[in-house]
Symmetry: D2
């Protein structure tokens, strides 16, 4: 399939490579051209402008946030360049408002639009094992399914309205932050009872909470290994902010999200935004005047 790919960051680079390996004709664009060198070496073509990447049957974008999507796709005219009948697959985690705006724009122009944010860290992306959360017209999703199959282990579908996939992604990231905060408070509690965090986190991650989230973040917390970050605390804060913003408009009280907001701000105020989200444990221990984080 003839596909453009915009955004070759930690996630996008591995994803685009998997498309090339699967035999698709991939035209890539990245803000810094050095980012695309490796892809070109693998067999991708380099687009001189983002718009040049938008001439195929499909366009995949994997940009970091609302601002980047707006700057590259809307302001730089990529959206207008897509030909009627093409399908745009937007895999970024963006706000519901921007998701709705993009869906409306594409609908007006006869371009297919699939929102397909993903679950998985960069190593999972590179291995083609992402879980893809997709929403959009069934026909559109089916047309790009070969692409999604090259990127992920499974495509989970959430109906016709693209923004629903973004809502699902935000809800999943909210739950992830909740899981981290619950471990953080639990070990602050246990620290006061002289129970080592390691023993507890090892036990739960192998029994009732034997899931990737608890295994991964539990290890980071047990080892107090907050840097380099896998998922930055500041980005977790951004996603919690998007959840609260959408919840506000729909009148949904979310007290756990409010606690997350306050504790993430507590960390940000100390310049810990570039640590891993697991550093919520530092906040809990600091408030209890416990441990290394005293």
């Amino acid at each position: 399939m003839d596909v453009g790919f915009i955004g070759l960051g930690a996630m996008g680079a591995g994803m685009a490579a998997n498309l090339v390996k699967a035999g698709h004709r991939v035209t890539v664009w990245n803000r810094s051209s050095s980012g695309s060198d490796r892809l070109v070496a693998l067999g991708a073509e380099r687009a001189a402008t983002p718009a040049q990447a938008a001439s195929g049957a499909a366009l995949i974008s994997m940009l970091s946030n609302d601002a980047a999507v707006r700057a590259v796709l809307i302001d730089d005219g990529v959206v207008e360049r897509l030909t009627p009948g093409a399908v745009h697959v937007n895999m970024a985690t963006i706000s519901l408002d921007l998701a709705k705006e993009l869906a409306a724009t594409h609908r007006r122009r006869g371009v297919g639009y699939v929102a397909a944010p993903v679950m998985g860290r960069p190593d999972v992306a590179a291995a083609g094992q992402l879980n893809i959360l997709a929403a959009g017209a069934a026909g559109d999703i089916e047309r790009v399914q070969p692409l999604l199959d090259a990127l992920g282990q499974k495509t989970w579908r959430f109906g016709d309205e693209p923004e629903r996939a973004n809502a699902v992604k935000l809800a999943a990231n909210f739950m992830l932050a909740c899981a981290v905060e619950s471990m953080a408070e639990a070990i602050a509690f246990l620290s006061a009872q002289d129970v080592p965090a390691t023993a507890f986190l090892d036990m739960i991650a192998n029994t009732a909470f034997a899931a990737p989230v608890y295994k991964g973040y539990g290890r980071l917390i047990a080892e107090e290994r907050y840097s380099p970050p896998g998922f930055k605390l500041s980005l977790g804060g951004k996603d919690v902010g998007l959840v609260l913003e959408a919840a506000d408009k729909a009148y949904v009280p979310m007290p756990f999200a409010s606690v997350l907001r306050d504790n993430i701000l507590d960390a940000m105020a100390r310049g810990e935004g570039d640590l891993d989200l697991a550093a919520l444990a530092k906040v809990a221990l600091r408030r209890a005047a416990r441990g290394q984080a005293r």
Copy 2:
């Protein structure tokens, strides 16, 4: 091994049966004698009083809460009846204060004391597949290890001070309630975006949150099946209360536990204490004026 067993409720009945099947000589006592009939049929002996169950090399108690432990073990003189050198294995979820009190009493009398609360529902107990959280003197635990092996798939050890195992159990139950609340808020949020709870909960329970807690409670929430309860909301509230009480004494702020407290009270105020803890989803949906719980 010659072992007494006090407390044949939903959990204890299956556990005592496993001891009998493993070849131990088990003397059982239960508040209602009908509760012990099945065990006697399996080959256990019936004690006329709780104290009679306390004459062997080990005593296991599986009572429902602080009040029952106090009434049966302390006020009825069971504790005083244990012979020096015997080991008492207390598998109930009790407060840290009572745990410390029992440890001190046993120490004074030369009786071994192992706190060994468990993770797992009644069906898991019956299958001998519990996860056992044990703390106490290493020698004491080793002496009763054959009994624990008949009851669980694994014994997780948390050091010499018995109350630490109780702290671990409370922390685990706190995390469980957090997991339920995070699902509750997530589906209230998604409901406002017209994403069905079922689709979302199915996805997370098979990806990043693929753990028993999310699979089990996720299904109850998706099916709005809050009765009969597996783990009663009122009991969840009791455990959160024990966590807050111990956190209070140790000066540990736990904002997630505070939210759980308020939301459980919201449910209790409506007479929902006998529903499953999964009914926290009703609270979240009700506050957002959503769904069946409107």
Copy 3:
């Protein structure tokens, strides 16, 4: 003094009238012309467009929110019409971001800018007894002081940066909502102990809490008189939202503001946004399954 006045709502109408009565030459503009009839009858001149009201030595605007300020003052070109040396006095409660934007625009054009939000309900405005929270260059404030003296009992000054007065106003409205929520939870608590809300609220409003906020809102809560609203719950929610937005950018955890947010959303979800902010008491009683709000 030759002064324009834009925005003759419940607050602005009485304020503009006080300027006329104090002998100033007032040119008024309002979205609906009927709104300005009474002022013209008092001796004010009617501007055909907002820009026409901007030709004097001073311009006072009293619009309801960010959107109205943006639509009337910025998009309709009022700001550009002000002559260098004139002073714009913006008395609305707006976001800190918009406050900073306006300050920068005026500074660039050599126009004085004073942010002067007020405390007081419409009857207080009509009586010329407002408390005015002013910030801006000292010289600018001094030039318009005769106008402010006609509008309020006192001008409180908060330095040179106009947006600081807006921050003060938001902080004051946050505290007001906190006072209401604290009464709401207190009477839910007392209701469960069979203490009547009236007796309690009367006592505190005449002892330690003998201040206008507690007397006024206490009476509304005691009498369950939530309509017609003096200060709409939805507007209280808007101000709490502006506080959280600014706190977010400055990394300030505000857990009371988070609780207010959730409880206001609980009310909004039930269509109670047009009730008085005092209806937070309905939320507290409803959650406790108490009182009329059961």
Copy 4:
């Protein structure tokens, strides 16, 4: 009137003195005899034991908490010594459970019981200007009214059930802590906008919040004067704990009380329990990494 007075702490000393000055025959007892010297000098008689103070027509007790009430009044046999027909006026802030227990005990023995906790700091007590929150049988209150008139400026009555006065006192202290927390968060917010706390707190304490609570605590916060404490943070925490305990039993969610709990624990964990309750401002500023409290 012939009256015993037990508990001559910071509050009780001034109160007992006012009874003596009003011409009542007062027999005093205090844990440390030095505490009663000044009263004896004023004309009071000294009781050798608490029970000796309980032989008159009335007994007033002003002990610091549940434990002291239990130790002195119940364990030391004071309650049993009261003669049928006498009236016990308990002016301490105690738990609702203990209040109910005392009421039942007195009822059984034919002794009148009036719960009469007070609002006001030691200087107000010394000036005889307390506000007294009284509940109990009307006849009992009337009999001791001459005593109450010597102690306070006004007696507020809350019905026949003594514990209701205790509930009112707890609710008032909860509101006081809410007022302090709301000021704390407001100045943390304003500090980030470079608005000085002093200017803001001065303004609100003279406008919408012109009440003793805001004037008094506002000054402490503005001056960062947290020691010596007027009302210790640890005692504020104790009262919030009593509120939460009673709210728990009655199923009343109180999210503001939960926030207070967590923030008071945050301070306690840092050894700030002996500072004034106003030190909640330190917590808010610390979390935002602001000001002297950084």
